[in-house]
């Protein structure tokens, strides 16, 4: 691809469809951030395709002035695989909720991560089923009272990051709906990654699960209760950047800086760790015992699926000068005989 860089504005990526999320829904902020990020990529919008499943989050494509496909519940990774394999020049984003991507769509999610197709997945995690009006989701966790768990959910939660790493994800990151710049930067980094990039976006559902992430990443809590992962940098956090994470054997622990503990004693993030152990370690940090890690957990280079396929086609066409051979060649393979 050698397109001329195009400069778009957010407005260029805004479709004429009325946005139908609940007032105050975190999805609005994500839409804005994604539009900003995409506008800055230098790609013409006709090269952009947004594929989604079903759910509140999955309404996303309608609001983007790009090519868009609002498919069926859970299947966006499969649809996107067809899109990208059919035309590797397209830039493809997937959008879905925690239910769409991790409940009904869990298998497609882990398989697209395994294959490393060059697309970006935006997983809007609001820990609830929004569109079907408030049942627990695979990220809701134990004890949650919802319409379908009137005595408390007995389903332990999936950790999207841990699951993605377990499936071999080559780019795994976390951001937050209201963290505009952070979200934009993460989306841009994910796009720059060659391979499947998964971004968990903590998203507030104001109607059915309001404030679920506030204690960790809300305005007031953010500095104190979350930690930004930066490749190669020590793990420092806190409003006064006076706390850090230290590795003790194979366990992490929160330490105060000063008093004999310096940044050099802290664990350094290694997003490029080939074996993914450091990213896994990062994923074990769960609020409230630890600050919630945000940013890029993992980023490693692997061949992309669609390029490997293109290479096979290329190899197969070597003899026919990179073109499809005549159909006669296909038809006449094997034993033939002539009747006259």
């Amino acid at each position: 691809m050698s397109e001329e860089a195009v400069q778009l504005t957010r407005k260029d990526l805004t479709s004429d469809q009325e946005v139908r999320w609940c007032p105050g829904c975190g999805d609005y902020a994500i839409l804005k951030g994604v539009q900003n990020a995409l506008a800055g990529l230098g790609i013409p919008r006709e090269q952009m395709v947004v594929v989604s499943g079903i759910g509140c989050a999955a309404r996303f494509p309608y609001y983007m002035e790009t090519y868009g496909f609002h498919s069926i519940h859970g299947r966006s990774p499969a649809v996107a695989t067809g899109v990208k394999m059919a035309n590797p020049d397209l830039h493809v984003w997937l959008v879905g909720g925690d239910g769409d991507m991790m409940s009904i769509g869990g298998n497609h999610l882990i398989h697209i991560l395994r294959r490393n197709l060059d697309v970006t997945i935006l997983l809007f995690n609001n820990r609830i089923y929004g569109l079907t009006k408030g049942q627990f989701s695979p990220t809701s966790g134990l004890g949650v009272l919802t319409k379908s768990s009137p005595m408390g959910s007995i389903d332990p939660a999936f950790d999207p990051i841990g699951l993605a790493l377990g499936a071999g994800g080559t780019f795994v990151a976390r951001t937050v709906d209201l963290w505009g710049k952070h979200l934009e930067a993460t989306v841009a980094a994910a796009h720059a990654h060659k391979g499947t990039a998964l971004i968990e976006i903590l998203q507030n559902c104001i109607i059915f699960n309001d404030g679920t992430f506030d204690p960790a990443v809300g305005k007031k809590a953010r500095d104190e209760n979350s930690i930004e992962l930066v490749h190669g940098e020590p793990l420092v956090f806190g409003t006064d950047r006076n706390k850090g994470i230290r590795l003790n054997g194979t366990r992490l622990e929160v330490v105060e800086l000063g008093d004999g503990v310096s940044e050099d004693d802290l664990m350094r993030h290694d997003a490029h760790d080939d074996s993914a152990i450091v990213p896994h370690l990062m994923a074990t940090m769960q609020y409230p015992d630890f600050p919630v890690p945000t940013g890029i957990f993992r980023q490693v280079d692997r061949p992309t699926y669609e390029q490997s396929m293109e290479e096979q086609v290329h190899m197969a066409q070597l003899r026919s000068e990179g073109k499809k051979p005549d159909l006669g060649a296909l038809f006449n393979q094997g034993d033939t005989w002539v009747v006259s």
Binding site: S15, Q17, P44, R45, E46, Q47, V49, V51, I54, P61, Y62, M64, E65, T66, Y67, G68, F69, H70, S71, I72, R75, P77, A78, V79, A80, T81, G82, V83, K84, M85, A86, N87, D89, L90, N107, H108, H111, M309, V313, M315, A316, Q317, R319, S320, K324, P325, D326, L327, G328, L330, F331, N332, Q333, G334, D335, T336, W337, V338, V339, S340
Partner: protein
């Protein structure tokens, strides 16, 4: 069917018009290979042919067991051959289990060739024989040819520098040599093939050739057979031919149509018997621009095909019954977004996992109705292995022209069966135009072609035509989400009518026999050969019987109703409990009757002949 079978009292060389042979043995006996070689050689000498392999469900069942028997049946002849034959004239049984499983199909008086070495006490036991059938009167109704094939093969190869295991493996070629002699076939095709196949192991090649020749000369010298037969060339249309299975022909038909349309073919598939060979075949056609995805399941397979079509490829997916059942929801999506896609269902015995390696025609109703909501889709069917090419081509023509997913039904019998295919000149294939829209002026995603009612196909990447599609009901023209009641009724009607428009470019119905009469047989799919053969034999016997075989199951041919009304009685033979029958009765209010068979096996011509008799003169 054999009209002049070998008979115990005939003269040395007899001419016959057609012959049915069945090879049977363990999975390890090389039965399929032997059958394939006989098929190709017979084709090369100009016979018409039809074949049917018959696998067990087990990969390599324990040797000698009844459930492990693998078979290969073929019919070849000097006339037009449409089925692999009802009753073999010759059975080559490599062990007692193969004998036990197959002997009852053999024509009385037919020839049984057995490898006596395999009739050990242990093998007899495994096959459930209490005494050795070669030595009691079990086989008195047939001509028994006992040969210790193993011993003779070993003998012939005693000096060959190869392992004993490999020597023993050559016994199928010894047997093949004998049968070549019996039917006066040349050896050179198989010799060449062996030399090619084992070009890196010349010792093995030489040993196999030796076994083949030894078998041939042994039959000649030892005068094993009371007579031998010649089967003259069939009056076959001039051209270049090759033998194709239904799955291979389907793959080629799809690829040919995509290449003619100048688009790439994308296959999303998940392995399943008996459809897997379609995936294998297409994975081998990368040079023709074919991308294949072995998806994680059937749902991912169909969804990836939809995605590929959306991006401007021809999306295809291939499966069998259980997989088709999983695709219903996504096919509904494809229908809503009105994009091309071909779904190939290679039917097998159902319900559920059913009889995975056996054939059946019992997926018609799920093909027609297996989606939530009002979701009409065109359904077409192939009628013979070679016809799979044409059926696949037609499926692509329809899917591209009408922007609707198309269901193509074949079945295990067609998929694994084979027959000669007259190779078409690529230049003669009818044109297919994907007609991508690239003109933004006045673009409406759901505007329709007034003739076909098809909507535009716009490839992502096309500037100024960004738009969104999806599974929610769409507003007419704009394609925006619409909950409007009137619009919904209208859109449901448009989707229905679009599919009905396919009737406008169907070729005329081909009727075997008169256009009116006492009895009309209506068939579809893989029963074509048997029905046609039976109808022609009934007509030859002076009966007023015709038949029509449907390519299009939905929509039905516009002339079908009139045709039906010109007959007194209608008989619909199907390998199910009356699925097309239901459709025809509802559509034409015709008191048609069905002939049903659910045995995992095709109709025999005899069964159809009897049903014709019964319908004409019996209760019906």
């Amino acid at each position: 069917m054999s009209t002049e079978p070998p008979s115990p009292t005939s003269a040395p060389i007899e001419q016959v018009s057609s012959v049915v042979i069945r090879f049977a043995g363990d999975s390890g006996d090389g039965v399929q290979l032997t059958g394939n070689q006989f098929t190709k050689t017979s084709a090369l000498v100009g016979n018409d042919i039809s074949t049917l392999p018959d696998f067990p469900a087990e990969i390599r069942a324990p040797a000698g067991t009844l459930f492990g028997v693998s078979g290969f049946q073929l019919q070849f002849g000097a006339t037009e051959i449409r089925t692999p034959g009802d009753t073999p004239d010759v059975l080559v049984a490599f062990n007692p289990a193969a004998l036990k499983v197959n002997i009852d199909r053999l024509r009385k008086g037919g020839l049984v060739i057995v490898n006596t070495a395999a009739f050990s006490t242990r093998n007899l036991q495994k096959a459930g024989y209490e005494s050795n059938p070669l030595e009691d009167d079990t086989l008195s109704a047939w001509q028994l040819v006992k040969v210790d094939i193993t011993k003779m093969t070993r003998e012939a190869l005693k000096d060959a520098p190869i392992k004993t295991k490999d020597k023993d493996r050559a016994k199928n070629l010894f047997a093949l040599g004998m049968v070549y002699f019996l039917y006066d076939r040349p050896l050179d095709h198989t010799v060449n093939w062996l030399e090619g196949k084992f070009s890196k192991k010349p010792d093995i090649a030489a040993a196999n050739v030796k076994a083949l020749k030894t078998g041939y000369y042994y039959a000649e010298t030892a005068e094993v057979f009371r007579s031998t037969y010649s089967v003259p060339e069939a009056p076959i249309k001039a051209g270049t031919y090759r033998n194709v299975t239904g799955n291979l022909a389907t793959a080629m038909g799809l690829v040919a149509a995509a290449q003619v349309a100048d688009i790439n073919l994308f296959l999303g598939s998940y392995p399943i018997t008996p459809a897997s060979d379609l995936l294998h075949a297409l994975a081998n056609m990368r040079a023709h621009g074919v991308r294949t995805l072995q998806a994680e399941d059937e749902i991912a397979a169909v969804c990836s095909a939809i995605g590929a079509s959306y991006a401007g490829n021809l999306g295809v997916c291939s499966t069998s019954g259980p997989g088709l059942a999983l695709k219903g929801e996504a096919m509904g999506l494809a229908l809503m977004v009105e994009l091309p896609m071909v779904v190939v269902d290679v039917q097998r015995g159902g319900p559920s996992t059913g009889l995975p390696t056996k054939t059946e025609q019992s997926d018609l109703l799920i093909a027609l109705y297996g989606r939530n909501g009002e979701s009409p889709l065109p359904v077409i069917a192939a009628r013979s292995p070679a016809d799979c090419f044409d059926a696949a081509y037609e499926a692509v023509r329809i899917t591209i022209k009408y922007r609707t997913p198309v269901l193509l039904l074949t079945d295990g019998y067609l998929a694994n069966g084979s027959e000669p295919w007259r190779i078409p000149d690529p230049a003669s294939l009818p044109g297919i135009d994907p007609n991508f829209l690239t003109e933004p002026e006045g673009f409406q995603p759901y505007a329709r072609d007034p003739e076909t009612l098809a909507r535009p196909w716009v490839k992502p990447g096309t500037p100024h035509m960004e738009h969104r599609v999806g599974g929610l009901e769409k507003d007419d023209l704009t394609g925006n989400v619409s909950y409007d009641p009137v619009n919904h009724h209208k859109m449901c009607g448009l989707r229905r009518d679009k599919v009905l428009r396919i009737q406008n470019d169907m070729p005329p119905l081909e009727v075997v026999g008169e256009q009116s009469g006492d009895l009309l047989l209506i068939g579809w799919g893989g029963t074509h050969g048997a029905i046609t053969t039976a109808v022609e034999s009934a007509r030859a016997a002076g009966k007023s019987v015709s038949s029509v075989h449907l390519r299009h199951l939905h929509p039905l041919h516009p002339d079908l109703g009139d045709l039906i009304r010109r007959f007194d009685k209608v008989l619909v033979p199907e390998l199910n409990f009356g699925q097309l029958l239901k459709v025809l009765r509802a559509e034409y209010l015709v008191d048609a009757h069905g002939l049903h068979k659910m045995a995992g096996q095709p109709f025999t011509v005899t069964e159809l002949e009897q049903a014709i008799e019964a319908t004409l003169y019996g209760e019906a």
